[in-house]
């Protein structure tokens, strides 16, 4: 319990620090502050997908429905953080460069992840049988995961050549000064903590719902 309160205060502190303690970013001004939220969100979105994939693999090997539950929960949270990352990215892009969308490699990648999440849930919602749903969505999650490394190589090259006059946005090219680094890493830690907490809650909720369902069936 105490840990959660600490988390709450921690992130509140991060928020305050990102505006007050940290000086405005060089090169990108005040809008650059959004990096404190945008990057950790994207990082968590990827982490969540990684967890979902691992759990999917586990499910296929061991056939334990609880692993499918874990995969689903990570994916759900991943989608939320992914949306957050996409939106903050677009806001930042608009504020800093005037366009909501600019085909920057990273912006494209985060949207692809969003599409993968969307596809995953579209698949899940179209299968009624629990075991089949778990099996097929696990296979899909793994497949989609395998194609991601390719994108890492392709996207920067393709989009740069397609839009040679694009403002080449290198988010990491501006150096983060000491203060910013501190706030950034604190935010990363905080976001991870938040994810862990949300994951825990969501998983417990799923378990309760699952138990209630199976109990309801037994009573029939």
């Amino acid at each position: 319990m105490a840990a959660k309160i600490i988390l709450g205060i921690w992130l509140a502190a991060v928020i305050i620090a990102s505006f007050v303690y940290m000086s405005s970013t060089q090169g990108l001004g005040e809008t650059g502050r959004i990096i404190i939220y945008h990057v950790p969100a994207a990082w968590i979105a990827v982490l969540a997908y990684l967890m979902a994939t691992v759990n999917s693999l586990g499910y296929l090997r061991r056939h334990a429905i609880r692993l499918d539950r874990k995969a689903k929960v990570s994916a759900e949270l991943g989608t939320v953080f992914c949306l957050l990352a996409t939106v903050t990215g677009a806001i930042w892009s608009k504020a800093a460069w005037g366009l909501y969308w600019n085909w920057d490699p990273r912006q494209t990648s985060i949207v692809v992840l969003l599409l993968v999440y969307g596809a995953y849930f579209a698949l899940r919602s179209s299968i009624a049988d629990e075991d089949r749903r778990a099996r097929l969505s696990a296979v899909y999650a793994i497949f989609a995961f395998l194609t991601v490394p390719f994108l890492v190589f392709i996207v920067p090259r393709v989009y740069f050549s397609l839009h040679p006059d694009l403002i080449n946005i290198k988010e990491r090219s501006f150096a983060m000064d000491r203060k910013m680094l501190v706030v950034f890493f604190s935010s990363l830690l905080g976001f991870t903590g938040l994810y862990a907490w949300l994951y825990n809650i969501r998983l417990r909720l799923e378990k309760l719902l699952h138990r209630a369902e199976t109990r309801g069936e037994k009573h029939r």
């Binding site: 299968i127 296979v139 194609t147 994108l151 392709i154 050549s161």
Partner: protein, 214 residues
């Protein structure tokens, strides 16, 4: 192999799936040409259009390959008769053949209607080949998944797009270069497509059993 032959034989008799696929592709091609042709698309845009059309044609035409089995009730017999990998290979080859036959008719149409010329024909064909192999591979595996779900048609495209994105991006870029006559990056693209195809096929083999066995 026998699975592929069986499917081809069945298909040849009725030609239902193939003609539907062909008609769809031609319709899309014509629609695109009528609407975009007037703007005299350059090789880049044309390359993109070609692959978009191929993508959606595959989405429309290929899922039936597994759905057919489920519908006609031959699925159980197939399960007993052959190992999962064999089934996969057969279906894959069938899909590949289907796509190649489609391309044979569609690509000339593409050149004519969109007024394109290809300056590096050999490489263009190589890229096309690698791309279609990948498209067939992904379509086969995902068709198997979708066969067990509802709302097949829409689901197919939704699932396929993120997975196919590396292939589509690379193929479009390489095709664009081939049309325009520049060798730049084509070898790298082909290597990437080759690796991609390999990864997809390998993963399909490893995971197919989980999809196929009920």
């Amino acid at each position: 192999m026998a699975v592929c032959r069986k499917d081809l034989r069945v298909e040849f008799r009725t030609r239902y799936a193939y003609s539907a696929l062909l008609m769809f592709a031609v319709t899309v091609m014509v629609t695109v040409s009528f609407t975009v042709g007037g703007f005299l698309p350059d090789s880049g845009v044309a390359a993109a259009l070609l692959w978009i059309i191929l993508f959606f044609s595959a989405m429309a035409g290929l899922p039936r390959i597994f759905a057919q089995e489920e519908e006609k009730g031959t699925a159980a017999a197939l399960r007993m008769a052959a190992a999962p990998e064999t089934v996969l290979m057969g279906k894959y080859m069938y899909n590949a053949v289907l796509l190649f036959s489609l391309a044979v008719l569609l690509v000339p149409l593409f050149f004519v209607l969109l007024n394109q010329s290809v300056l590096l024909p050999g490489l263009f064909l190589a890229v096309l080949l690698l791309g279609l192999l990948g498209l067939a591979a992904v379509s086969t595996v995902l068709a198997a998944i979708v066969a067990k779900a509802e709302a097949k048609g829409l689901l197919m495209a939704v699932l396929s797009f993120p997975v196919l994105l590396p292939l589509l991006l690379t193929a479009v870029k390489a095709t664009h270069n081939c049309l325009a006559g520049s060798r730049e990056g084509v070898a790298a693209s082909m290597l990437l497509l080759f690796c991609y195809d390999g990864v997809i096929l390998a993963a399909s083999f490893l995971l197919f059993a989980y999809i196929w066995d009920d």
